[in-house]
Symmetry: C2
Subunit: 310 residues, 2 copies
């Protein structure tokens, strides 16, 4: 336990000293077998990884530095000891990667499905906080990484692709999503982003929520949406739509954020610090409240009506 | 939302300013239908109350001042809207009573039973923290309130007592346990207690855990264990054992704590501030690691072997 954990697991509650000059950032998210994952497709280690990753992704979207986590596990009776160990191990590995300390938790049995509730605690300096609400007309819209990977990986897992045909990178993205903790911290630390959200349910959903919280519209630049070659190839072979996976597929946990035109220099500094992780401009913030996606001459609404876009 | 909540519910995470000069205290606890309560016996409002109460009780046992909570709900499909509303209302009422702000949460569906995970966040000044580990031989052992009420209330609920025969106080104690937040804060604030734990699984279990954490033994004074008249009467009528309910019955959420002989004056100050809530000496801490319970000439071990004690 690091020195700032005054009382760790095993007492009635955990006691932690705060990071100097920072505010607490707290989030909780549950993963339920059969709702958020299917235990027949996802190894136990990945279940543990995902349960923490979705919470760290929320902290990343606030520009916060993750510090601690609490784990609440409801275990079904037939869960094997090896699976329990692998689940906790998967969670602890990701925690170590991000310097997160497990400070407490709770284990209970359940007559229902495996349910994992994680609460993640981070810290952030005042004025470094990223929210969904700061976008203004004229801001540019960006995403980290590539989109549609996780949805494609899940489809491939369900299809039971032969080893040679399986999009291994996309499957790994689904099984062990990488929370963009460093990107969020840099975007907040450099005060480069005017708003930020993490993509848990697809780009279209993220755009909708960010636009609503900021009372703005968004015009997406369809062809700019970053899609991995492996994902394009898999959909070409399957006769399905990679762009639809990118726009409407969930579980990517990339960051969607806006940048004021005057702050492009700050974004350059973030990009330099980030190194390999792509940051792609995918549209701009508009005054009107419409959410549209443009592909050359063709413009469509982003939303329920959206069906096919290449 | 109070001013210290910088970002409340609705964003990716909550952001809160810290209490000055204090440390964070965090705990999480789950309530699963069929494991921690039976929804056919417990009204929805009481389910919400209990889910928060068990967490506030953990904060109380640390001497912490509760500030905020996060709620993670997994709802089964047939849950009625009225039940959902009543559940949240029951939780929010108790939150208001203790000045707790709901800063975030998460709702998901589940193919399993109703599962409520609450994370409670409090604050405590350094050197005011109560842990389980501070008891020393010679300390006196105390409990707040009366014991066995909740277990008796649950028994009566299950038995379906006629209105006249039902122990209404005990049933209320089971349905809406009162977390001893003020007692915990006073015990920590006056530095009166050397160790503290809340009683979620009975006095015997609490004694065992406190003794183990402090590497001491405990000698309980059987006849001193406080049992409400209503509870004694109900067990006398039912032909069952009130003392067993007090020792081994769960869900009372009273505080069990130790006081150094030199600090009895501090405890007097706490008692005066507490007013009506009884505080009863139930034993003392011993050097040997045994856990015993004495009733006049008869002395037994506290533990698995314990069966009958009057």
């Amino acid at each position: 336990m690091p020195g700032w954990v005054v009382v760790g697991p095993g007492d009635d509650a955990a006691v932690v000293e705060r990071a100097r000059g920072a505010m607490d950032v707290l989030t909780t998210d549950a993963c339920v077998d059969g709702v958020h994952f299917e235990s027949r497709l996802v190894p136990a280690g990945a279940i543990g990884h995902r349960a923490l990753a979705v919470n760290l992704s929320d902290l990343a979207a606030m520009g916060a530095d993750p510090r601690a986590a609490l784990l609440s596990l409801a275990l079904p009776d037939p869960l094997a000891v090896e699976d329990f160990d692998a689940l906790v191990d998967g969670l602890l590995r990701l925690a170590r990667t991000h310097g997160v300390t497990l400070i407490g938790g709770n284990i209970t049995r359940t007559p229902g499905p495996l349910t994992i509730d994680v609460t993640a605690v981070g810290s952030v300096r005042p004025r470094r906080v990223l929210t969904r609400a700061g976008a203004r007309p004229g801001d540019d819209l960006y995403v980290t990484g590539t989109l549609g990977d996780a949805a494609t990986g899940l489809k491939a897992l369900r299809a039971g692709d032969a080893p040679g045909a399986a999009p291994l990178g996309a499957i790994e993205r689904y099984l062990r999503p990488v929370p963009r903790v460093r990107a969020g911290r840099l975007l907040g630390g450099h005060r480069a982003a005017s708003s930020c959200i993490d993509l848990s349910d697809g780009l279209a959903d993220g755009v909708r929520q960010l636009a609503e919280a900021s009372s703005v519209g968004v015009a997406l630049d369809g062809p700019a949406i970053p899609i991995a070659r492996e994902v394009r190839d898999w959909h070409a072979r399957a006769g399905s739509d990679a762009a639809d996976a990118a726009l409407n597929g969930g579980d990517d946990y990339e960051l969607l954020f806006t940048v004021r035109p005057a702050h492009r220099g700050r974004l350059r500094a973030v990009r330099t610090a980030l190194g390999d992780l792509p940051v792609t401009r995918v549209g701009r913030v508009t005054r009107g409240r419409d959410l549209i996606i443009a592909d050359g001459a063709v413009t469509r609404e982003v939303g329920a009506g959206f069906e096919h876009f290449r």
